[in-house]
């Protein structure tokens, strides 16, 4: 009579035993309760371990992993600075300056005055967002007719979020809304990693300017006034006709679908 070792039983449980031995073992099992129990312990353990890790298969795949495997054409949507006004950027390096000083020459409308306080909550929101939120659903930006347009959560935020309601914890924050010189609505937005300016063009939010936010490494809360890159605020200055919208005008613009 064969003595069945633990390693034989394990091989059987793992499907590694050859057919001849398997037949012998099965015959032995019929007549041997203790052998049965040893085998059951091994197969149970195997099933238990497999079951313990099985739920991982149903977890959503983190964005940082799925992004690696996107088609190369869209694999790198956030270069350090995407400046649609390259010449301007060359003239003024990607420095970050106090927003207040950049807008100071303009007439100080109430909305601008609120900006400092709003920016503080914006930055806090960006920080919290960066730490707690999973990466946003892609794509946030897309190409349409050769133009960069907001999509996904950025488009949604531009369309539905009021600057006055932008709070902490949202992945996209909207800061300023204004009417540009062509008479279209424009809005600035930021995510944990970038800030941009988008204006209405044929029902879409066409991105006019985009800049990376120096997201890392955060050592604490950034000064609110440095929240938006200088180049972005300049882009606002360049386009704005009159003042930024106040909360009421913003609300009515949203109600009309940002059409004029």
């Amino acid at each position: 009579m064969t003595t069945w070792t633990d390693s034989s039983l394990m091989a059987f449980a793992d499907g590694e035993m050859d057919a001849g031995q398997s037949t012998q073992l099965q015959a032995a099992l019929m007549a041997d309760n203790a052998l049965q129990q040893r085998l059951v312990a091994i197969t149970e353990q195997r099933a238990r371990v497999a079951a313990a890790f099985a739920p991982v298969l149903d977890e959503p795949i983190p964005d940082r992993l799925s992004q690696l495997l996107r088609a190369p054409a869209v694999a790198n949507p956030t270069p350090h600075v995407i400046d649609l006004h390259a010449a301007r950027t060359k003239r003024e390096p990607h420095g970050i300056e106090p927003a207040v000083s950049s807008v100071a020459p303009r007439k100080a409308a109430p909305t601008w005055a609120q900006w400092g306080g709003m920016a503080a909550s914006l930055v806090l929101g960006v920080l919290i967002g960066a730490q707690l939120k999973p990466p946003m659903d892609d794509p946030h930006l897309g190409l349409q007719g050769g133009k960069l347009v907001a999509s996904g959560i950025i488009e949604k935020s531009l369309t539905t979020q009021l600057a006055s309601e932008s709070g902490s914890g949202t992945p996209v924050t909207v800061q300023l809304s204004f009417v540009d010189k062509r008479g279209q609505y424009c809005r600035t937005f930021s995510t944990a990693h970038m800030a941009g300016l988008a204006c209405q063009e044929q029902g879409r939010w066409a991105v006019q300017h985009l800049a990376a936010l120096d997201a890392a490494p955060y050592t604490g809360m950034r000064q609110a006034s440095s929240a938006l890159p200088r180049t972005l605020l300049d882009a606002v200055d360049e386009r704005i006709a009159g003042d930024a919208l106040d909360a009421n005008s913003e609300r009515s613009a949203r109600a009309q679908g940002w059409r004029r």
Binding site: D6, S7, M10, A11, D14, G15, E16, A41, I42, Q45, R46, R48, V49, A50, A51, A52, F53, A54, P55, V56, L57, D58, E59, I61, P62, R64, L65, S66, L68, L69, R70, A71
Partner: protein, 161 residues
């Protein structure tokens, strides 16, 4: 290749969790392996198993990643506690937690064989190739891992060498 790897991501993440326990560390391993796979795709031999190739790169990354281990030790408690805060736990979930906890107490070599054979269901030969060891070494590691696991699960609080 990208699509094939993308389809493997759930399993790669699962294997990562047997190695690293901590979710972030596990995903770090997957990320490293995916990046290596994409840059060294020419090194993969068609006709061989892509999953084994990826597992091997994850295992190598795990050996390299001493940094991750330090982090794992630091975040170990919060991670596991945090994952289950407010989650109604039934018996199956409790058991899964206990088993994952037990697996995390195995040594690196044992966790790798448990992950490859018991969780991923690789044949001995395939698992041995992933680890670059003879089948005999694999089976003896596997036997020791099973014994150790049984001991830990039988007495989760017991002091072990």
């Amino acid at each position: 290749m990208r699509e094939d790897i993308a389809a493997l991501l759930p399993r790669l993440r699962r294997f990562g969790r047997t190695l690293a326990h901590n979710r972030e560390d596990a995903d770090d391993l997957v990320q490293i392996a995916v990046e290596r796979a994409l840059t060294h795709s020419h090194q993969w031999q068609p006709g061989t198993r892509l999953d084994s190739w990826m597992f091997r790169m994850m295992q190598n990354a795990w050996i390299d990643e001493s940094r991750a281990r330090v982090r794992r030790q630091q975040t170990f408690v919060e991670e596991e506690a945090g994952e289950h805060v407010g989650v109604s736990t039934n018996d199956a979930q409790m058991d899964a937690l206990a088993v994952r906890e037990a697996v995390s107490q195995l040594n690196d070599e044992q966790r790798a064989v448990v992950g490859l054979v018991l969780v991923e269901g690789l044949p001995y030969k395939e698992a041995a190739d992933v680890l670059g060891i003879p089948v005999g070494t694999l089976t003896s590691r596997l036997a020791r891992a099973r014994d150790a696991l049984q001991a830990i699960l039988a007495d989760p609080t017991g002091a072990r060498p």
